[in-house]
Amino acid sequence: MSALRKRFAAGLCCVLGAWASTAAAQSARPGRPEPLPERPFKFPHIGTHTLPNGLRLLVVEDHSLPLVAVRAVLPVDSTADPSGREGLYAVTLGAMREGTATRTADQLADAFAELGRTVAPTGFTALASSFRHGLELMSDMLQHPAFDSAGIERRKALQASAAARLAQAAVTAPRQIFYAELSGPSDGYVRSLRPTAASVGAITPADVAAFYARHFGPAGTTIVVAGDVSDAAALAAVTRLFGGWHRAPPIEAERPTSPAVHETTIYLHDARSPQTYLYIGGRGPTRTEHDAVATDVLSAVAASRMQQTLRDKRSFMYSGTMGVIWQRPPRTAVLVGSTVVNATKVDSALAEWMSLIRGLSVGAPTTPAELDAARRLRVGSLPARMDGPDSLAARLVDLARDALPIDYFDRYVSSVARVSAGDLTAAASKYLDVNHLIIVVSGDRTLLEPALRAANLGPVVVVDSAGRPLAP
């Protein structure tokens, strides 16, 4: 008997057995158990230190694996790229890896190979036994970059290639259009989403040196350490390696403008993608505003309704998200949902989705069961978000980047418990106002435009990939 036949015969045999056994299994199944008492959530102790030069250090000990994760939270990011030099932040960070005052790129690579892990100027994860050595390499790149022309040119080539690949991804245009409509085309974050070969090519070594001098220094920088290292050892190592870093305080980034979101508009982008990307959303609160937690819980309810309707009930989508994207202060958060659907279903999917959003503030407010599930989801998933040194370090980065109080995550748990259904309705009215949404539809215009206009869900404006209106 061939292998295939043997398998087929075995399969038949199993089927007959399974039919009989299924009925028995169903009748004998035990009932759903009651959960055990909850263990109160408590974020691990965070050691906090500030060096005399202003550099801050946050440490969480986790000795479950012989690993340590280190990150540098800098006072600058790509939103500070000057106009026409988009990509400068990435090129500057990359050029730091091309050599320091005392190490060539080859010597850095040799050192990384000894550690079995690449060290970046902004962090690394390595064996605990390599902690001090990795930190020394990181501090050398951050404090003493050589910035030689050849290294900068190499990094420009990498960044230009990355920009070209980013531009060909189907998700890039709808994301850029969404943020351009939200914050205006000249906003730093919007520009940071679209470095080009031209903007990267225009970067000079002098630009890199000036950007570094303007934005990098101990003041405003936080080093976070999580893993198998003691607080005292982390403090000693960071003091030794960063205590002598003296530079002028970084210049604060310009405060972004926040133009009002006008009436709900559908921005239609003609993409060559066989599928259609949908983005819906608007501006949210800052992470420390009084209704930030309510907005976060609201997004869980909105995401659940989206899943249940657009996937489970209507099969319009495979996966989609709806959530709050917190941004570095003083930028406000963005409350946004996105998914991918077939072009022939876009009008129906969009109508259903807008109806769900409308219901959150008018007509179908959050039910007690939904509120309970959303609270459990937000609090219950917290331990998974601090599982291991990398995740712990990511949470410490949240604290540092978003200027949150050290006990933020413990407070978050109690804040979630206090959120009411009324709070969610208020947050929905304020941040998911169906009359003031930005909607981006990116796909085959020939199919989409007639359907969207016929559906009459809002004015339709055809735009290019930067969000600029096209002539009718």
């Binding site: 398998r7 199944r29 990435a90 960070l93 000894e114 390599s130 003493h144 060909q168």
Partner: protein, 485 residues
Amino acid sequence: MSHARVSAVAALLAGLGLPGRPAAAQKTALAPPEPASRAEVRPLAYTRIVLPNGLVALLSEDHAAPLAVVDVWYHVGSKDDRAGRTGVAHLCEHLMALGSPNVSGPQRTLYQSIGGSSPHWANTTEDITHFYAAVPANQLRTALWIEADRMAAPIAQVDEQQLDGARAVVEQERRQNIENFPFGVYRELTVAALFPPSHPYHVTALPPVADLFAASIGDLESTCRPYYVPNNAVIAVSGDFDTRTVRAWLDEYFASIPRGAPVAHVGVPAVRLDAEKRLVLEDKRAALPQLHIDWPGAGFAAPDRLALNALGSVLSLAHFGRLSHALVDDRHLAVAVAADNYDLESAGVFEIVVVPRPGASLTTIEAVVDSVLDALPASPPTAAELARFNAYNAVTAVASLQTQFARADTLAHGEIFAGDPVAYAKQVAAARSLTSTDVEQAAARYLTKGRVVMSLVPAGKLDLVSRPELPFTNVTPAAAGGTKP
């Protein structure tokens, strides 16, 4: 392809986006630590239990956070799909996620209502299907009850309407995760060229959906149910629990599920290509070309796998890899190179991917790749190259176990693929014994003239194809808008 291996190429591409005088003299350098290549990789502590019905349970306690992960692996994947029913294993995963006799509606919804979360909730590969979730530690018992209910009556709740809905969602998944990406179909076209049509790995887990519309509920039940039995499953639990308590819960919820008939797993014949196949894939959304070169590789338990992993490092480790050095640093032809053996359960794919600099010729790049490969016998891997491989291999083995999801996955993977939940730790140790000759001989055995060379080019840019004077097959799907007649 395992998740970790698949992610290597994604990481290569994503990594491309990463991005005066010193204020003070560099402080005295620290003495370097003991090289990571010799670092000890301690296996995870776990308890292995086999229930009378054949279900294997792997329990790994860790009380660092009030969290537990439940990860149920069924030893069935796309290589078990029958001819004319491709994609069925994956469709069955979707059907298994629509509820069970005592769980009305998707299990995902119930999990979320108790604080559960998961990156994807379920996944189907060529070899396995698994369902996984993290829950607050006090809800672990409920999670076990959910999974037992799913296992006790697989696909028992499905009607025609649900089947139609599941087909539509799977169709959408393929569009979203494969067809919507420039060159997104390259992998399925590569394995189709490497493995002959009758081979179990000829088709991937998420193929074109035409076969799904020919499958009835009865088909699906008869095809899938035999695999969803306790004696073909492994449940891995990792996190904050007491092993004795969980053992009792396993008895309570799983022990009554009847053992199924023994599962006969499909045989996987070894594959060698007799000659080179040259393919071209065009895409109207792409702006930049790529070059992929693939050979049949070694499966997870094959003796040559570690040597091929080492070979991948020798060729493409950043800065040191021979291809990286030649193409990226020396000739400035590429921005990145990746080479590795992607191990399936019973076969593998050794792949070299080159991302060219704008304007670089794929023909020149292929010539450089070939010259580097041709030089291997005369210039076998050095001790330093093997030490670098072992350093990264050891640290990656530890770093990849940070999360409870990863720990549960690793234990279940080792149990099913190698009969040893902590096979990973032993393989790190075994890799330290590799010699230069081992790697050189593996290269000679696998990196032969029988290979698949695929030029990925923007639509209509056939002038960018590597060595265009040689005959090639244009494998561009119609939707990608190529010049194929």
